[in-house]
């Protein structure tokens, strides 16, 4: 079991290293550097030269990569290139993104807390009622929801709950350093939008898994032994059905990390997604690099945890190969 965990850890580290190279290279490929992006129309060669030197952009790419990676590993994300170019002498990225990061985490956590039990419940219900109207309703409904992009779902929800019913606020403005939870009403539409887009895959996977298990001989045996259906499902079917679903739910969580980007823009929610979009637009290379890398870390971590959970659920995996 320890070997398994170790193997997974090494794999995760390798994936992150590869991601860091990819991210750094991708940012370099963007046309123009941060200095010229900040200067915009005033980006005369002389001005670009001066700012590039100030921002350390004249050093070779390999040096900058090493410096960035070393800082990142030590928890130092560096300074925002654009803020420095705009005349600040100190603009730590961590300081800029810690608030938005917390806001996004809150949004994703609430969504996950609703999504996971709901996916399992609806998926199981659909499996138990396979072929009946409940099953069709759940399957069709979740398919329809996942087919719509977030900005469409978000706009539709705003149209219904703000323009039509005047029930919920259409944007979620949280003051810097403020707590999004202090205005729970503002969170409803963003969370529901995220649920719409992320739940379908989970529901379908749980349904498929549970349906398959319900056809197995040991479930039939349990039923023939006269165990109540409720106990058959909860005790014997679900546990085995969930193993493949854990991976899918983990994917859903990872999707949330990306999905919040669009949803945050639609609802003006001050999270990490809005920060990333802004940073890309103004070509704040250091912020883009660090935020992208943080998101990669979250992805890899979720995968790792999911693998461990699957291992706990499926005893076979715990035995040495």
């Amino acid at each position: 079991m320890l070997a398994f965990v170790l193997r997974r850890l090494v794999g995760a580290a390798a994936a992150l290293l590869a991601a860091s190279v990819l991210i750094f290279t991708a940012v370099q490929v963007l046309p123009g550097n941060a200095a010229s992006a900040v200067l915009g129309r005033n980006a005369s060669p002389a001005a670009v030269g001066i700012l590039s030197r100030q921002m350390g952009l004249d050093r070779p790419a390999s040096t900058r990569y090493a410096h960035w990676l070393k800082g990142f590993v030590h928890g130092d994300l560096g300074d925002s290139a654009v803020a420095i170019a705009q005349g600040s002498n100190h603009a730590p990225i961590w300081h800029l993104i810690s608030g938005p990061l917390k806001n996004s985490a809150i949004l994703a956590a609430i969504t996950a807390l609703v999504m996971i039990p709901l996916s399992v419940a609806l998926g199981t219900l659909a499996a138990v009622r396979a072929g009946r109207p409940t099953d069709h309703l759940i399957s069709l409904g979740s398919l329809a929801a996942v087919s719509m992009p977030e900005f469409v779902v978000g706009s539709l929800l705003v149209a219904v709950f703000f323009v039509g019913l005047h029930l919920l606020p259409p944007v979620a403005i949280v003051p810097p350093g403020g707590d999004p939870l202090s205005h729970p009403k503002q969170l409803v539409l963003p969370v529901v939008t995220l649920l719409f887009a992320s739940m379908a895959a989970g529901i379908r996977m749980v349904r498929a898994g549970t349906f398959e298990v319900l056809q197995t001989e040991y479930v039939q045996t349990a039923r023939l032994n006269g165990l109540p259906e409720r106990r058959v499902i909860m005790r014997y079917a679900l546990r085995n059905a969930l193993a493949p679903s854990v991976q899918v739910l983990a994917q859903n969580l990872q999707y949330l990390v990306g999905g919040v980007i669009v949803v945050e823009a639609v609802f003006a929610y001050p999270g990490i997604g809005s920060q990333l979009v802004n940073a890309v637009q103004i070509r704040d290379v250091t912020v883009v690099q660090s935020v992208a890398m943080l998101i990669a870390v979250v992805y890899v971590l979720i995968n790792l945890v999911a693998d461990l959970i699957v291992m706990l659920l499926v005893p076979k995996l715990r035995e040495p190969v």
């Binding site: 046309p31 123009g32 010229s36 992006a37 900040v38 200067l39 915009g40 129309r41 005033n42 980006a43 005369s44 060669p45 002389a46 001005a47 670009v48 001066i50 700012l51 925002s80 654009v82 803020a83 170019a85 705009q86 005349g87 600040s88 002498n89 100190h90 603009a91 800029l96 608030g99 706009s155 705003v158 703000f162 323009v163 606020p169 259409p170 944007v171 403005i173 003051p175 810097p176 350093g177 823009a265 639609v266 609802f267 003006a268 001050p270 809005s274 920060q275 979009v277 802004n278 940073a279 637009q281 103004i282 070509r283 704040d284 912020v287």
Partner: protein
């Protein structure tokens, strides 16, 4: 009034014994003369004119004080700043307007009036100015405003990375001198009869001597700094000691970054903000009809243009350039590309500004003449590539429409879309495109011509190089006599109109929105959201 202008007594605030021309007075006289008047008074004695006055037709009793005014702008992430001398976007302008003051105020009708500087006294050939500053103005920290602060600010503007560089490039920076606390000597590299006009734009607003990183900026403006989180929001508190009359009336001002246009509008509709910058044209049309919010439309000199490289074929032949100007159906472009929010452009820049030549006939669509010009130039069935970008609303739309309009003259325009981030960046695409689009927000004719058409102009989009034109331009800039200067400026503009590489199809309006409870904020040709003058606003 020292120079024989009339003042409208009705425009004075009660108990105000200072001299000021009201906006109504200016408007009554029509744009051309009003603008002409606005320019002259800053040369010579002006008196202690009051810069801020009560909005027209409003008495002090109607104004409700207090509350927080919340304004939503397009955010700029970490690029947002309070430093005036770096590149600023509208949200930064809003903050600069709150904290700082300019030497010269650009009024809603584009006339000028005294800000922190009261008088601009040139020597005989306009190569040196003695500037008298407003006495008794204090910074938010209690320090008295003086000539040293202005000198320090001009030094910031003259840094090579400063966005204000074009405004001070004619100044001999090292020879700036404070004669006393409120008098300043500014020596120039070339004659400039209207130096005051250089000091209206946000990049040139005045900061306190010694200001370095603007982490807790101190200014003389209507609001004091509270807090600033780039990309999210900033908060300002009312300055009770503001030197101008009346405002601010609200206790605090909150500037919020909301980049998504529909989220910004939703925030306004739901009452989470009170005002928003840059309403989209389509949304503006809808809400003008529904009356649920006030759509603030200002006719502005912000000009949208196509430009042609006058040195590269086929546009090095003026007959081809002229043909393009005659192909454009400008009213149709305005109607379809910017939903009618603009007035027709005439291939010169600065409508409404001092020295703009209103007597030049309007270029209109004339396909037969365009065809014969192209034939004479040997360019029948011309095929060109037009580079466009979604960097400014209306660019891609107008380019698409122009391409359709051109087919009538047998001209094929192929569109090529350039990423927004490269389009105006000279280290990338900008100034390398033979046929493209541009937008200018000029604050004076001089500003535009020095930047775009003079010898060594940094943004010479049309690659215009003409010695005789340049001589004429600097004559116009340096001529102290207003009538003579106007005649030089008219010649400059006629040359551009008949030979230049600009096809200016519209002066586009500023379109913003206010909730019904925001009062006192009036349309302004000087900037969006009533030129961000929140010191004039109150909440009913």
């Amino acid at each position: 009034m020292t120079d024989g202008r009339q003042a409208d007594p009705g425009a004075y605030e009660e108990g105000d014994d200072e001299h000021a021309l009201s906006r109504a007075d200016f408007l009554k006289k029509g744009a051309a003369s009003a603008v002409g008047l606005g320019m002259v008074p800053l040369v010579g004695g002006l008196g202690n004119a009051a810069a801020s006055m009560l909005p027209e037709g409003v008495s002090e009793a109607e104004i409700r004080r207090g509350g927080t005014l919340r304004v939503g702008y397009v955010g700029g992430g970490t690029a947002e700043t309070i430093n005036p001398s770096v590149g600023v976007t509208p949200i930064d302008e809003g903050r600069i307007q709150a904290i700082f003051d300019p030497l010269v105020l650009l009024n809603a009708d584009l006339s000028l009036s005294p800000g922190l500087a009261l008088e601009w006294n040139p020597n005989k050939d306009a190569t040196e100015y003695e500037v008298k500053l407003r006495p008794g103005v204090t910074f938010h920290n209690g320090k008295t405003f003086s000539a040293e602060d202005v000198i320090y600010s001009i030094h910031l503007m003259a840094k090579p990375t400063s966005a204000a560089l074009p405004f001070v490039s004619g100044i001999k920076i090292r020879d700036l001198k404070a004669i006393n606390k409120t008098t300043l000597r500014i020596p120039l590299k070339f004659p400039d009869a209207n130096l005051a006009a250089n000091f209206v734009y946000y990049n040139t607003w005045i900061v306190q001597k010694g200001e370095k990183n603007f982490s807790r900026p101190v200014g003389t403006g209507p609001f004091k700094f509270g807090s600033f989180t780039p990309g999210q929001q900033s908060v300002f508190k009312r300055n009770p000691h503001y030197w101008a009359h009346g405002g601010p009336y609200v206790d605090s001002l909150k500037i919020v970054s909301i980049s998504d246009p529909s989220a910004r509008l939703n925030a306004l509709l739901s009452g989470q903000i009170d005002a928003m910058a840059q309403l989209s044209y389509a949304q503006a049309k809808a809400h003008q009809a529904s009356h649920d919010i006030n759509v603030l439309v200002s006719h502005a000199p912000q000009v949208l243009m196509f430009y042609m490289d006058t040195r590269k074929p086929p546009f090095n032949d003026n007959r081809v350039r002229l043909a393009m100007k005659l192909i454009a159906d400008r009213p149709a472009l305005i109607r379809d590309a910017i939903s009618g929010f603009g007035t027709v452009g005439n291939d010169i820049v600065g409508k409404g500004l001092t020295f703009y030549d209103n007597s030049i006939p309007q270029h209109t669509r004339d396909i037969p003449r365009a065809k014969s010009l192209l034939k004479a130039a040997g360019r029948e069935g011309l095929k060109v590539v037009l580079q466009t970008s979604d960097v400014i609303p209306g660019f891609v739309e107008s380019a698409t429409l122009l391409a359709q309009q051109a087919t009538a003259a047998g001209v094929t325009i192929k569109l090529k879309q350039v990423p927004a981030s490269s389009y105006f960046n000279p280290s990338l695409q900008y100034l390398k495109m033979p046929f493209a689009e541009t937008q200018w927000p000029p604050s004076s004719l001089k500003f535009f011509y020095l930047q775009a058409l003079a010898a060594n102009a940094p943004f010479n989009e049309t690659h215009w190089h003409s010695k005789s034109f340049n001589t004429l331009l600097f004559k116009a800039i340096g001529e102290p006599n207003h009538r003579k200067a106007q005649s030089y400026w008219n010649q400059v503009q006629r040359i551009q109109w008949s030979q230049g590489g600009y096809l200016s199809w519209t002066n586009a309006d500023f379109v913003d929105a206010l909730s019904k409870k925001v009062k006192g904020l009036k349309p302004s040709a000087a900037g969006i959201l009533g030129n961000h003058r929140y010191q004039d606003a109150w909440l009913s």
